[in-house]
Amino acid sequence: MAVALALRTIGPVTSDGELIQRAATGDRGAFEDLYRRYARPVFGLALRRLGDRGRAEDAVQETFASIWRSAASYKPDRGPGAPWLYAVARNAIVDRARTRTDTPTENLIEQADDGAGPSEQAEQGWVAWRVHRALEELPEREREVVALAYWSELSQSEVAEFLGLPLGTVKTRTRAALAHLATLLEDELE
């Protein structure tokens, strides 16, 4: 029941593709919505690839400047917005790496990942991009429990104590958040 109720809170949202098309007409509100959705995924991708916060911040700014300038080149019949945005971000990050160093750039996009081959690294980058993008769509209270459950190194009992909530509430909320994410990440789960 809790999951079903939670799923109903996901209403129809403007797609990434629609926002890109609106940005192409000069709609700054649409551009800001894209920024809200993708600033963190772009920053995460840049950090992963560049390994430096300052350069990653520059890459975020350049990515969104590029999105604004090139939004008219997005063709919805060629696919949804997320892969297009990913390609623009990836290019901006490679450019940032190239312009700030004198080192060879052939493999710069993957340099921050250890152990995996290029295809696995690309896959990891894409998965992180999609998951971080989906997290932005969760209600704040669900995003909070997911972050605490997965990346704080606290047990759920400790999370409950930290938030001042009953353990059952924390687990129910976390389950609802995972169900939301499952819906948002439908393509990844296929």
Binding site: F43, N91, Y150, Q156, L189
Partner: protein, 197 residues
Amino acid sequence: MTDLNDIIDFDDLDANERERLERVHALLLQAGPPPELSPSLTKPGAPPEPARILHLQPRRQRVLLLAAATVAAVAFGGGYLAGHPSTFTAERVVDMHATGGGNALAVLKIAERDAVGNWPMRISVSGLPQQAQRTAYYELWLTRKGQPSESCGTFRVHGKTTTVDLSVPYSFKGISGWVVTAHTPGETEPGDVVLTT
């Protein structure tokens, strides 16, 4: 926590829903935590304004085009290829010349579209002044109806000739040319056009 059982109770879920949540669980572990945004990134910067194009008189433009083609052939025919791998196979070569009567030149080579949909390109520029500021840079743009429309990448120059490899996913259909702009920190992007086709 790496076990979903430690995070939620799902004894009451059917197998399909349970499997779905386990996949999400695995994706979260694979993705890792999202980064904290720096204060400077909490809001988007102002979208860039259109570039200021510096137009030349037609006659002067024709003279410069001719000079650009001649000098580019000499300047890049030997030294450029000697300093960079010769494996770049161009499908199209575009000459660029300076706006405003300068002596700068560029040769832009564009390769065939690659398997994932990007066009590799290599630009060699000569005669552009080295950036006075550490964070200043040049930027290559596609133009549509004479206006910069899509960025193809940014670069800095050093020495007489600088060669940079770029890659873009954009379609070249309907473009009217290429320009290079000079960007100085604190100024509105994309800055003044310094090279054009």
